[in-house]
């Protein structure tokens, strides 16, 4: 009888193979990122330096350990965090075009940072205070993103139309920029320069302390995210169905918003507003894994996000020039084609992620 045959549905092997493949690509790009830069270090010497740091040129050692490794790590962490944050937003808003930058969440984080950098940073410029200042900057960014996220959510509960919500996101972003311009007008020139450089996006300017703060925060954000994987799968079918299978909507929203704010806020605080990773990578993950399961998409987004920002970092320091291009510009040029593809693909933007 037909009903005796087991149902074949599990394509787990193909998916884990893909994950390993992508991990290998990420590792390769990480290595490539370590050997790329204005100071020429021979390929072999990079690995000698990594494993026998005592035996090589101290300058190489310094370049690798103080600059290139933290920079590559930051790029990977930022990419992973932004991609996961975008995935979560697309699921909770049931909107394929949701993302931390599109809905103004990054701008919110930027406002937090602007308030700290332009407004209060003069109180914390002393060396010992740097660590505290790192936390203040990041907490300000979390708060900023959480405030905008709550505003967007409040509106989206009343307005169901995807386009309207996107336009509102842009308006929130513009409002925040207006506040920032006012702050800039009243701030000192040195602070202003710090802020403008921050807005271009950068992975290389983090101090060791800041990298620590970033690592701890992103780990916490991912932990909260893992706790909400099942909830997000259930939310795919919409709020009514989700509640009918026992989902507590309120606590789920709180969990998902908490991790989204932490992830977006932390990255934005230290690396600047990096666009298009959050919106593009989740779609790339869905396309590659052919899955809507967040247990698959979560690791997928982590690896693909890391890959995208490693590539962006490599492009931004492409020879022949010795200086860095703004990372922001590179991610935009990489991400925008993907976003256009999404828009063309679902012409009626009423469907769910």
């Amino acid at each position: 009888m037909d009903s005796m045959k087991p149902i074949h549905h599990d394509t787990g092997i193909h998916k884990s193979f893909l994950i390993f493949l992508l991990l290998a690509v990420a590792f390769f790009l990480f290595a490539l990122d370590l050997i790329t830069g204005p100071v020429k270090i021979p390929f072999k010497q990079v690995f000698v330096t990594l494993f026998y740091p005592g035996s090589v040129d101290p300058i190489w050692k310094q370049v690798l350990f103080d600059f290139r490794i933290p920079k590559a790590l930051t790029a990977m962490i930022a990419g992973s965090a932004l991609a996961v944050s975008g995935l979560q937003m697309q699921t909770i808003f049931r909107n394929p075009l949701a993302g931390p930058d599109v809905l103004g969440i990054s701008s919110g984080a930027g406002l937090g940072v602007a308030l700290v950098v332009l407004g209060f940073d003069r109180f914390f410029s002393g060396g010992e205070m740097l660590y505290i200042s790192g936390w203040i900057q990041i907490v300000a960014a979390w708060t900023g993103s959480a405030v905008v996220l709550l505003l967007v959510m409040a509106v989206s509960l009343r307005v169901r139309d995807i386009m309207t919500i996107l336009i509102l996101g842009i308006l929130f972003g513009s409002a925040v920029s207006a506040v920032v311009s006012i702050l800039q007008y009243f701030s000192e020139q040195t602070m202003l320069k710090t802020y403008v450089i921050w807005t271009m996006g950068n992975f290389g300017s983090l101090t060791g302390m800041q990298l620590n703060v970033l690592l701890i925060s992103i780990a916490a954000g991912f932990a909260v995210s893992v706790l909400s994987l099942k909830r997000m799968n259930v939310l795919l079918t919409g709020e009514t169905y989700a509640r009918s299978v026992g989902l507590n909507l309120k606590s789920s929203r709180i969990l998902i918003f908490l991790s989204t704010s932490i992830l977006t806020g932390s990255v934005t605080a230290f690396c600047g507003p990096i666009g298009f990773v959050g919106i593009a990578i989740p779609h790339l993950a869905r396309l590659l894994f052919r899955s809507a399961d967040h247990k698959v998409l979560f690791p997928g987004c982590i690896i693909l996000g890391a890959i995208m920002l490693l590539i962006s970092d490599l492009i931004s320091q492409m020879p022949p020039q010795d200086t860095h291009l703004p990372v922001n510009a590179v991610t935009a040029l990489l991400g925008i084609p993907i976003v256009i593809w999404i828009i063309v693909k679902n012409q009626r933007l009423v469907s769910v992620s």
Partner: protein, 341 residues
Amino acid sequence: MDHQKQNIIIDLKDLMIGYRTRGVQNAFTYGPINLSIHSGDLIALIGRNGIGKSSLLRTITRLQNPVGGNILLLGKDDFSYNRAELAKIISFVSTEIVGVQNLQVYEMVSLGRSPYTNWLGKLEHFDHSSIQSAIDMAQIRHLTAKFIYQLSDGERQKVMIARALAQDTPVIIMDEPTAFLDLPSRYEILRLMNELSGQAGKTILFSTHDLDIAMHEADIIWLMLNEGIAEGAPEDLLFRQQFHKLFLNSPLEYDQQSDGFRLKKEIHKTIGLQGPEEYVFYTEKALKRIGFQVNGTNEDMIRVEVVSEGSGIIWILEAGIETRKFKSIYELTYYLKYNCK
């Protein structure tokens, strides 16, 4: 009666449903409702648009809070259950189209296991066998590897019902499960619902606008009228002439002869009809459709006689001194419609 009382699974006590809108006091309310649902019932909820059918279903599923009164679920107030516990007693199917990309049918059905799985949603062996039996019950085995967006409306609805079956609840509540479906799909869904209540012992409450289907398939009809809900077997309601209230100011009426609901016809004229029985049956149907009262006698001003002539049939119309012959029912009705009113 005692036997029935023991089997009560949901008890609505003075239940008031509706929406509380800020500023406006109770913008919409309906009630009080005092009804019981017995285990294994297949109940059809019928009422005009906007009377509150969806609100009632959503209130029982606790997707919406009652404005007053309470609901006893297995003898306990339903607010004493948390949402996860509730999800093990009542499942819900709506007409909402879930258009998730890259979600396979099997995965969709497996989401029904959410109340039972661990914090990561891991499916155990038992969950898989539950999902498979739900898939077999809904007869969607051939669809399991497909993606949701590849399905027709009828197939998608069966998948959503399978999802509710995998949820393994004694009660299933469905909001217009047959809306937007073509006729064969409607009957398939109803057959499935009938089997579920008859063989699998599920208690099913569903809203519908399909009066004919409800009359033939439901054990009980809840007829939601302005003055309250009339409850009973379809035949009870016919007997008590309850449907008239539903059709007040509407052009529908129940036609006993054909056991279905028809548009009321204003009778313009009477017409005589004679001929062999097998021809008369369809001719009469057509004449009624265009508003004639049909008599079997020869005394009317207008008369039709159906006769076989050679290899075919002809319809002979006599109106006063005029006599005409027609080769089909359509020709006959067309002529009558424009010349004999």
